[in-house]
Symmetry: C2
Subunit: 192 residues, 2 copies
Amino acid sequence: MAIATRKEHIRSTAQKLFRTKGFAATSMRELAREVGIEAPSLYNHYTSKQQLLQDICFDIAAQFQTTFDASVATEQSNSQKLRRAMLGHVQVIASNIEASSVFFDEWVFLEAGELARFKKLRAAYQQAFRNLVADGIASGEFNAVNVKLTVFMIFSALNATYDLYKSGERLNEEEIAEGISAILFNGLERTK
Amino acid sequence: MAIATRKEHIRSTAQKLFRTKGFAATSMRELAREVGIEAPSLYNHYTSKQQLLQDICFDIAAQFQTTFDASVATEQSNSQKLRRAMLGHVQVIASNIEASSVFFDEWVFLEAGELARFKKLRAAYQQAFRNLVADGIASGEFNAVNVKLTVFMIFSALNATYDLYKSGERLNEEEIAEGISAILFNGLERTK
DNA sequence: CCTACCGATCGGTAGG
DNA sequence: CCTACCGATCGGTAGG
């Protein structure tokens, strides 16, 4: 596997380490060792450990929003839009397994200013999903569920994608998104 | 608020710090400062930082399993058992907000032997839920869903309880468990 | 990209 | 429960 550039190599290695050991428990020396250079040389590519985290987190945040916008820009029903948005969310995770894992678990280590910016992006993304569910209720497509709770459930289920990949299940993106959609849309309880 | 014992005070303070900053980023000096003693004095109560983490994680693990066993030891339908088990799960989280948050996010820092023991307990708990869902399908109460995926969804939704508490929603345990159950059992899509 | 090195902080121990 | 302190390691800089 050819490594495109050293900078990318550093970043992908950092993603792996941040995920497995956590941001705080990962040292720049260990990262350097894994990359195959001395620790101070890392600073020719990234100004700080914090900068690495920021790059990873905001890249994923942007991917989520871009994918969502594309999913919704259709003339389909709210139900279909939601299904597409869910699949898109899973696809972003699946195409960035290590990075999205860092995005979910390590964003708390972003420093003050960037942390605030990050939270805003996340809130906007959540709100977009809530609007979609609310529109679906208004149009009569969905049951009159608790919107915030529903979106919470959708995200918590979708964000377990990483664990599903790791488990022995061997599900691909479509199977995960469709399996979750099936349960969420149709419900568990058998209707007689 | 009276602090029962110093040891309990240390533990509850550690839970708060481990949750907000993470296990690796929390120092014993900071913990000591927060408690109001010097760092070396901590070692009269806990042999190590690791020991603190173990106490927290395994206590919660035991509570989950005990609560589940009690929920299932009834002569109700599988559907009712599952609802009760879900409520019990939320109640354990709600009664141990800080500790359960550490349980979910910081267990990765358990050292080798304890890590293996922890994973076994967690796997057994998951399997118990899977059996319940499988029984419900066999008895015709549930739709023929993907069992593992369904249990994954249940846990990922229930484990967001902590976030739901923090959000402005002000839902209590019953409302969270019932809200999630309602969506999960009945589904989002309106049946005509 | 390296060697050499800084000040700060870490988990934990000795000894009382 | 404290003071004093250990060796190790941290993120990052200087200077080339």
